[in-house]
Amino acid sequence: MSDQNKSVQDKLGELTELVNWFQSSSFKLEDALTKFKEAEKLAENIEQDLTKLKNDIQVVKKRFDTEG
């Protein structure tokens, strides 16, 4: 799935995973800078998504004042 197609939720999940890596036993200083840059980029990306996303609000055509 490309970054364009990922939902904000997916990206938030990825960021959480990245952040958890820094607290885990897998943490290695050699990889930390790359992972940090990745997290920073992802956070910026999510911020952009969150800022530009609009809600799609539609009033349904069906009428409810009568049965059927």
Binding site: I46, L50, K54, D56, V59
Partner: protein, 363 residues
């Protein structure tokens, strides 16, 4: 008509025809007395005021709220003379009026639904943290709806919101809302949350949400429900049976979606915290490296010191072995063959003496 002879049945039919033509429907207000439930299917009671009384009759399924003797109600009914000579009001709708009766009706229905477990905590379903598709039931002309939309748009994006426009007060409102609930529940692609909202109003306005069939429709919804009706102090049966109660329509929007500004703040905080973790790790590594280097230097220094100490000892030994030290003590060093006539060289501390061997004897 006085010259027309009618049978009793014809007379009853004529009276009913006349009543139906003149008053197809009447709304009558009075106090309930002699309330009776017949075979669990029918309800009869008398509606009275200070001077008069009239019989009322209706099916149990037409009751939208329990009633009892002493309650003031309005009945919407058709007047009918039955073949046995009783004059009845065939009730189509009944609702309590006046603060006391509305409250009484509310308490009766609340007790009934509570007994059935409709308010039980273990029935409550959690709402998704971030829904992507929701259904809203409200009046799209209301200020409450405008507030709800404003807050949703401020807080979140990417949400699909399908809105069913219904009345939210007045007699037709409960059935319209029930139809909208059934509509959303019948969709192939169900919304993840069903939100029912209405702004503040009088007790009578909000009585729409204390309707028994509506409360049951909310409780039966396959889609988790979020109900925000009135102000914080208003409690309706609709919000008691809902999975989640919101204090107001604005609060419903706040419960429904997270605030993107808070998420952005939290993202920045997480990145900063990760940055601090990296810096701390680097500091830790630096400290460890520096400690290792110190240990190494200490070991080297110790080794060098040991070596110097050994050297000093050896120097002392070497010094003690220096022949000059022996010469200092008055001894001399003699070089040459130990035979008569040979030349000898005698070295003292300060002089070198040449001598000749004149005698050699064994000791």
């Amino acid at each position: 008509m006085e010259n027309v002879l009618l049978s009793v049945s014809d007379f009853v039919a004529l009276v009913n025809q006349t009543l139906e033509y003149a008053y197809p429907t009447v709304s009558v207000q009075g106090e309930v007395s002699e309330y009776k439930l017949i075979q669990g299917k029918w309800v009869s009671f008398k509606l009275k005021d200070e001077q008069s009384v009239v019989n009322c009759f209706l099916g149990v399924h037409q009751m939208r709220m329990p009633i009892e003797d002493g309650m003031k109600v309005i009945v919407v009914a058709a007047a009918k003379l039955n073949p046995k000579g009783y004059f009845n009001l065939n009730v189509r709708a009944i609702k309590p009026v006046g603060e006391g009766s509305i409250k009484k009706g509310f308490e009766l229905l609340k007790a009934k639904l509570e007994k059935e477990g409709l308010f039980a905590e273990d029935r409550k379903r959690a709402l998704p943290t971030v829904p992507t598709h929701v259904g809203v039931i409200t009046s799209t002309e209301s200020a409450a709806y405008a507030d709800f939309v404003k807050i949703i748009n401020e807080r979140w994006g990417g949400l699909r919101v399908d809105v069913a426009h219904t009345q939210v007060q007045g007699d037709p409102a409960p059935d319209q809302i029930i139809r909208a609930i059934r509509y959303f529940n019948s969709l192939e692609e169900l919304p993840e949350v069903l939100i029912i909202i209405r702004g503040g109003g009088s007790a009578e306005d909000l009585s729409t949400f204390n309707d028994e069939p509506l409360a049951r429709a909310i409780a039966e919804s396959r889609i988790p429900t979020l109900v925000g009706v009135g102000h914080e102090v208003d409690h309706t049966l609709a919000d008691m049976v809902a999975d989640v109660r919101a204090a107001t329509p604005t609060n419903a929007a706040q419960i429904l979606v997270p605030d993107r500004r808070e998420i952005i703040r939290s993202l920045k905080q997480q990145v900063t915290s990760v940055g601090s973790t990296v810096i701390q790790a680097i500091d830790q590594y630096k400290l460890q490296t520096s400690e290792h280097l110190s240990t190494i230097f200490r070991r080297i220094e110790e080794k060098v010191d040991d070596t110097f100490d050994r050297l000093e000892s050896l120097k002392l030994v070497v010094a003690q072995l220096n022949p000059e030290n022996i010469l200092k003590r008055g001894y001399a060093l003699v070089r040459g063959e130990q035979k008569i006539g040979s030349k000898l060289e005698i070295e003292t501390l300060k002089n070198i003496i040449k001598a000749e061997v004149t005698d050699v004897r064994s000791k």
